[in-house]
Amino acid sequence: MFAMTTIKNKMNYNVNEKGYYGEFGGAYIPEMLYPNVEELRQNYLKIMAEPSFKEEFNQLLKDYVGRPSPLYFAKRLSEKYNTKIYLKREDLNHTGAHKINNTIGQILMAKRLGKTRIIAETGAGQHGVATATVCALTGLECIVYMGEIDIARQAPNVARMKMLGATVVPALSGSRTLKDATNEAIRDWINNPVDTHYIIGSAIGPHPYPDMVTRFQSVISEEIKWQLKEHEGREKPDYVVACIGGGSNAAGTYYHFLHEEDVKIIAVEAAGHGIDSGESAATSVLGKEGIIHGCKTLLMQTKDGQITEPYSISAGLDYPGVGPMHAHLAKTKRAEFMSITDDDAMKAGLELCQLEGIIPAIESSHALAIFEHKKFKPNDVIVVSLSGRGDKDLNTYINYFKL
């Protein structure tokens, strides 16, 4: 009896049956999208539970993506900061980031729903590449929306998508970055309601997307548990750390630890040129409750409710909202939110190159930069999600460091 009451009173960090995380989430969508989103809502859990789905998903993650991704003890980095730092190497996945975990899941979902045309939005281009890849793998048509600014700063990924057979459509409205690419993808879905599945690339959007994406990405923390057991003799780290754009690598990294109160959660946002500079993407600090891309969440906006244009050197974090799960983690203080400037992230990225021989994506560099700002105990075990590799960012690194 007693035990049951405690469980009942314990905070729930997962989505509830109505599609909310606390007060955040839901499906604030125009009626035109209702049939598609409802179809997905009614089917996603059922499909994900099918043995044949699970088998195909796991097989592809193993043979095609190359999972499990290593959990690497970063010895020299740990020495420098006098603590124990493990890197979850999502950068070693096929296509170079965690994004592929989700696109594999969603393409199998789309197939089972009988869809023949795939659309996606992309910021850094990693999700676009991961989507183009699974479309090539399954022979489905692929259209990727990408902000004009991002097309310029992530040129190698644009080329990769094209080589993989995808059509890349520039988003020319607004700030011409991730937010606007997402608007265009949603408009495409409104215009093509029957044959098309929209593969959202982060833990955002109308319910059930945040939950579905989180479940596909949860393989990250599932692996961390048994891998850490091998390394440290225990499943639970003291901290899990991840950068947050929309929040998919973070959601996957936290998932199996959400209700383990002794595992502390750190979420790292992009401060851009600084929180107060007017050029930032630190939503948990600058945002207020609002509605973006179909969900209620924390959102950077004017007093009048117009969505603000964010800024970050990293295209993948350059988004004015966060997924509703993370808004809830911020509000309940389950997670500690930190924000890291462009400069600090770039420095941390270069440091990882030189201490560990790993060139990280600039998104991931934000998570690595916390060690300059927060002191950990020598025996703390900290798992950082190294969400992607830095190949796509070479141009930015070259310009920044005048290499």
């Binding site: 604030y28 009626e31 035109m32 973006i292 969505i307």
Partner: protein, 257 residues
């Protein structure tokens, strides 16, 4: 009885016009509304511009962006139209996305609308279910009619539900598309118009999206109580200026000759 309900009882096909408040210039709002009424339009949708209008095509997107650049805000709009009922008597509806209303405060927003004499709201991204559970009583307190959309993909069951909680008209989206992307109606659409007409719903339907001229207006109103024109009107005033509104209405009603 609300002005919308009264208007719907008139024995004629209704022409409703959408425009974006604050476009082409910030202070055009009142004169556009007055001229639309004088030109013979039956109902007006005042668009409250939003930075990220998901359900809108390029024309309304561009007018919204310009309106925001011109300085349009919720407060500015309310101030511009606070005395509108001294000069205009046709139904006025505010059409906008939910976030600006949420930030203003849904109740405060509704109260203000009612004080001004706004008759209804169209909020494309406020789902029927959320409205029904959380906001219906507020709308009712302030005598506002909330207008819901249906599309060719909306199930019969859902149409019946929407009909049951509507008390004005149903906004029938002509085809699966964002605003402004049609150039005429084919068999597929007229079949859909027919199918809905034959459902004999409690609420009359007004068709919107893709109505642009006399031909599409007549086609649509063959099956529905009225039609709404948005993008075509905005294109027209962008090209010819706001002094030509009566010409636009005449063209739609084909009363030029």
């Amino acid at each position: 009885m609300n002005r919308i309900q009264q208007k719907l009882q008139e024995n004629k096909k209704l022409l409703s016009i959408y425009f974006t408040a604050g476009y082409p210039s910030l202070n055009d709002t009142v004169s556009i509304i007055q001229d639309l009424e004088k030109s013979g339009v039956d109902m007006i949708e005042i668009g409250l511009p939003f930075s990220d209008p998901l359900a809108d095509g390029p024309t309304i997107q561009a007018s919204s962006t310009q309106a925001l650049k011109n300085g349009m805000t919720t407060e500015v709009l309310f101030n511009q139209i606070k005395n509108i009922r001294k000069s205009v008597s046709i139904p006025l509806i505010i059409m906008g996305y939910f976030n600006p209303m949420l930030q203003y405060g849904v109740e405060a927003f509704c109260k203000k609308c009612s004080e001004i004499g706004i008759d209804g709201l169209i909020i494309p991204d406020l789902p029927v279910d959320v409205y029904h559970e959380q906001y219906k009583s507020i709308f009712e307190t302030y005598g506002l009619i909330n207008v819901f959309l249906i599309t060719p993909q909306t199930s019969v069951e859902r149409i019946n539900f929407i009909d049951s909680i509507s008390n004005g008209f149903i906004y029938m989206v002509s085809s699966a598309s964002v605003t402004g992307s049609q150039s005429g109606f084919g068999k597929k659409q007229t079949n859909y118009f027919k199918r809905i007409a034959e459902m004999n719903l409690n609420n009359p339907q007004i068709i919107g999206f893709g109505i642009s001229d006399y031909k599409t207006f007549t086609q649509a109103t063959q099956y529905a109580k009225g039609a709404i024109i948005g993008s075509a009107f905005i294109k027209y005033i962008s090209k010819y200026g706001i002094k030509t509104i009566h010409e636009f209405t005449k063209n739609i009603k084909n009363t030029n000759n």
